[in-house]
Amino acid sequence: MLAVLDLLLGAPLQLPEEEEEGPLKKSVRCHPFLRVRARPTRPDGFSLMAEPGGKMEEGKVQSADGLLAHLAALEARAHEEAVKREEKEQQEERLARLRARVQELRLQRDELRAKVDLQHKAQLGEEGLVSDPARPSARAVLGWKIESVKRMLQVFYLTGISGKLTRQGVCFCISTAYEGTYLDSYYLDLLTKAEVQIRRHSVPAFIPLEQIAKKYLQTDVRRFLSVLSDHLNAYAGRRYQADQLQEHFSDLIKGTLQRNSLCNLLVFNYNVSSESDAFPYSARLVYRDVCRSLPTEVVVSTTPEAPAPLAEAAAAHSDLFRRVAVHEAFRSFRDTGAGVAAALASPP
């Protein structure tokens, strides 16, 4: 905008390379737009491109002001059109690229579908052995066997004890799970040069690793792993139950569940329905056998002023928590309602 004004008023333009002929005349030129390089004509630095073939309307312009306004308007319109054209080009380019990609992927997908279908038909025809038309290369055979052994090793992870031999010994991986859900895995890097030593491990500090190692590591590695696995799985199971309780039944629990790092002590106040705001029951679960995921001691109490039915329910809950995982117990509270849950909790 400013540059055009400069032109019209005859002030010299500060254009570095522009080959302008001398001072401009006040007449309208054939090229209504000039290429402006050095100075941005808009606040965002957008530069104006010359439009060859853009023609000036041949009208009689009365005054310098009118001309100015007219030129400014033309400039603005040209700018808008240029922007729109660029956007449109970009959009079209983008669409073209996407279309091409879709075609490419469709082709790939169709090829794969055909391959899988052919494979399936071949499998239905003859089971097991495949007669390769060309004699397979040693590389292909070894590649197949490698994949086969790798898959078998992956399955060992699901059994709870897996690992691999290292230059100085062996690195074991103990996996944990609660029912069908696999939880954290723990690693033990063992040196087996002279006596067996634990070089590194990821077992948490509250698991008595040293005691277990002292008892079994030198004489019976299998037993060592089995006992350690018992501890880790029980801990993982208790932690899972407490996490599930906190995550899915937080409306039935007052505040957050209190627990220790080994998750063998849980203390919380709760209710069996979220209808009232009170949490009349208070529970304390102790898991004295650290290799089990059910508590050995449960104390459920209510306030001294509580009515009799509540006290009875507390006793029933106490029994329930001893027999059923804590988050399952809460699921039964929610599903069947407090009264029925209490009835279910009483021994058959």
Partner: protein, 286 residues
């Protein structure tokens, strides 16, 4: 307006990419499953590969040493099988679903743990989140060769909860006791063939100690392996006596006490010594 067209294309691209991933995995699984090379073919391939590899290495470049890789993997596998006692005899995997969020695979697994064989079928759902990968088992079906009622109860409870890990851990400890019992029976049968009989064979749970002289005095030890709800196995041994009438009148008291004494012996000396002592008693009845 144009943006919505772009969006449609982009959605299709994503769907196609996922489908391609799934099909690729299905194809690779299929190739793996339908191919089979015998041990001789593998051995031959190892040899011919090694020759090629040595020739290639003398030139330039570093071709991947497949033979070494295979041998390392096989060593790891055989170590694990020996340590855990779990031998897998067959495994097949089929990818059923593969999306951005996760993969669903169907697995079939067969094998044995010591002398107990099993067959499993299950579905494994693996989900990738920002922090970790989670794995969940569903549709678990287990077949174990056992007549034991407790074992059958345990297996069906395991199936119900999808507790695959618990199954393997319990199977391991149960199978160890099973194997220990079998070896103990074998040992005594070998050492005292005229006194020891195994009415149900080595894999049964009864061992009879009988003096060869036709006095009719017999001791039967029943050795059961209990498995509790949490999958823990414990041996439970009991003593039954079969005594002819004449002997009974004379030694009523001591014979009545025999089972209790056997139990204390078990606690004090362990199973093998307790059985050994009983055999000595039976032999002395001459």
């Amino acid at each position: 307006m144009d943006n919505s067209v772009c969006q449609v294309y982009e959605d299709e691209i994503q769907a196609l990419e996922e489908e391609i991933k799934l099909l690729t995995e299905k194809y690779e699984d299929g190739q793996q499953e339908s191919t089979f090379y015998s041990d001789e073919e593998i051995l031959m391939s190892k040899k011919s590969f090694w020759r090629e590899f040595q020739a290639e290495s003398k030139g330039h470049g570093f071709p991947s040493d497949l033979k070494a890789q295979l041998e390392n993997l096989e060593r790891d596998l055989s170590f694990l099988m020996k340590l855990t006692g779990i031998h897998f005899t067959g495994h097949s995997k089929k990818t059923v679903e593969k999306t951005r969020n996760g993969t669903v695979q169907k697995h079939r697994l067969s094998g044995n743990c010591h002398s107990l064989s099993f067959q499993l079928k299950f579905q494994l759902l693996e989900m990738q989140s920002k922090e970790n990968v989670s794995a969940v088992i569903t549709d678990l079906s287990i077949i174990v060769e056992s007549e034991d009622l407790k074992v059958k109860e345990f297996v069906s409870s395991t199936e119900e909860h999808g507790s695959l890990l618990a199954f393997f851990r319990s199977l391991s400890s149960y199978a160890e006791w099973y194997e220990h019992r079998r070896r103990t029976f074998l040992h005594f049968k070998g050492k005292y063939p005229d006194i020891v009989t195994l009415p149900e064979g080595l894999l049964g749970d009864q061992i009879i100690l009988r003096n060869p002289k036709p006095s009719g005095f017999e001791l039967m030890i029943i050795w059961k392996i209990h498995i509790d709800k949490e999958g823990r196995s414990t041996p439970v041994l009991d003593l039954l006596t079969k005594v002819p009438e004449q002997v009974l009148e004379q030694k009523m008291a001591s014979i009545e006490e025999a089972p209790a004494q056997f139990r204390s012996m078990l606690l004090l000396f362990g199973i093998e010594t307790a059985i050994e002592n009983l055999i000595k008693v039976v032999r002395l009845e001459e």
